[in-house]
């Protein structure tokens, strides 16, 4: 995951995020399902890790992901409509 390019990492984050949401919806109606709980745990952990790597290597994905190291980089990185992919 560390070696993935920006676009691949973003794709991984988007698809994993969708999976986590789907599993959450399933667990809304099956809160005791051990398989659902285990899958949710795995994919949410993967999502957190991917987001952390992406934000460290590229740019914050949300306002909560800004790492303030002397400058406010929230507005420095390209916005989604600016096609900021570098791979």
């Amino acid at each position: 995951m560390e070696n993935m390019c920006k676009e691949d990492l973003m794709n991984l984050i988007q698809s994993t995020n969708f999976t986590v949401i789907e599993l959450g919806l399933y667990l809304d109606t099956h809160p005791e399902c051990p398989c659902g709980l285990a899958a949710y745990e795995d994919y949410s952990e993967l999502l957190k890790k991917a987001v952390k790597i992406y934000e460290r290597k590229y740019e914050p994905l949300s306002i909560y992901g800004v790492e303030n190291d002397g400058s406010w980089d929230w507005v420095q990185s390209p916005w989604p409509w600016q096609k900021g992919c570098d791979c």
Binding site: N11, L12, Q14, S15, T16, F18, T19, E22, L23, Y26, T29, H30, C33, C35, G36, A39, Y43
Partner: protein, 226 residues
């Protein structure tokens, strides 16, 4: 209250339960009531002035009667004043069920009202056991196979279609759609929602493309794919 085809009995029970005073004092002249229709406590309006079928007592203020109640006034009254809307029989065909006026209604001739002979499912189909998300399809002459994330659905005559990440092009989907074959076999306005069970998942990328990560829920939507 038990389900019953007898609208007469139902109306009388509603009247007596909800507003016994109105039931007792409603205008029987407009109703063309037969004497033996009268319940204990009812009296005909023959000897008192007819209020035009409004069902209102003299001491009632306008608007204090039942909602949606309309007086029949001078026109021929085909509606008892305290009959609920939707239960008027005068415009119904004899073979219609109460409460509906749909033209393609089926009569409930030799069976309890509203019930189809096999409980609503077409011949040869079993009702869901309530535990399998796609049990209706798998229990019948439809079969499904799994193939590396792609799902192949076959019907009884061997026609097949693929559902999955690599099966996006599905020519003839409309003809092969198993739901299309069901046609109007199911009764209208009845939903069957079997409880979802945990099953195989698509990988995240495939799930995002399919719109669900659950293989069991990946059905054909011709509105977007054909």
């Amino acid at each position: 209250m038990e389900a019953n085809c007898d609208v007469n009995q139902f109306d009388e029970e509603v009247k007596a339960d909800v507003q016994p005073e109105l039931a007792a004092e409603s205008c029987r002249k407009c109703d063309n009531a037969r004497p033996n229709d009268m319940r204990p406590g009812m009296r005909p309006c023959v000897d008192r002035p007819c209020d035009g079928g409004s069902g209102m007592r003299p001491d009632m203020r306008p608007g204090s009667g039942r909602p949606n109640m309309r007086p029949c006034g001078d026109r021929p009254c085909d509606m008892r004043p305290n009959r609920r809307p939707g239960y008027g029989r005068p415009n119904m065909r004899p073979d219609m069920r109460p409460g509906s006026g749909r033209p393609n209604m089926r009569p409930c001739v030799d069976r309890p009202c509203g019930m189809r002979p096999n409980g609503g499912l077409p011949d040869g189909w079993r009702p869901s056991d309530g535990m399998r998300s796609n049990s209706v399809m798998e229990d019948s002459d439809l079969h499904s196979e799994w193939n590396c994330g792609n799902r192949v659905i076959k019907d009884s005559v061997g026609r097949s279609m693929m559902v999955g990440c690599e099966g996006q092009t599905m020519s003839g989907c409309h003809m092969n759609d198993p739901m299309e074959r069901l046609g109007d076999a199911f009764p209208p306005v009845m939903a069957y929602v079997p409880w979802q069970q945990w099953g195989d998942l698509y990988d995240p990328e495939c799930g995002l493309k399919q719109g669900t990560i659950f293989k069991d829920l990946n059905y054909i939507f011709c509105g977007t794919r054909c």
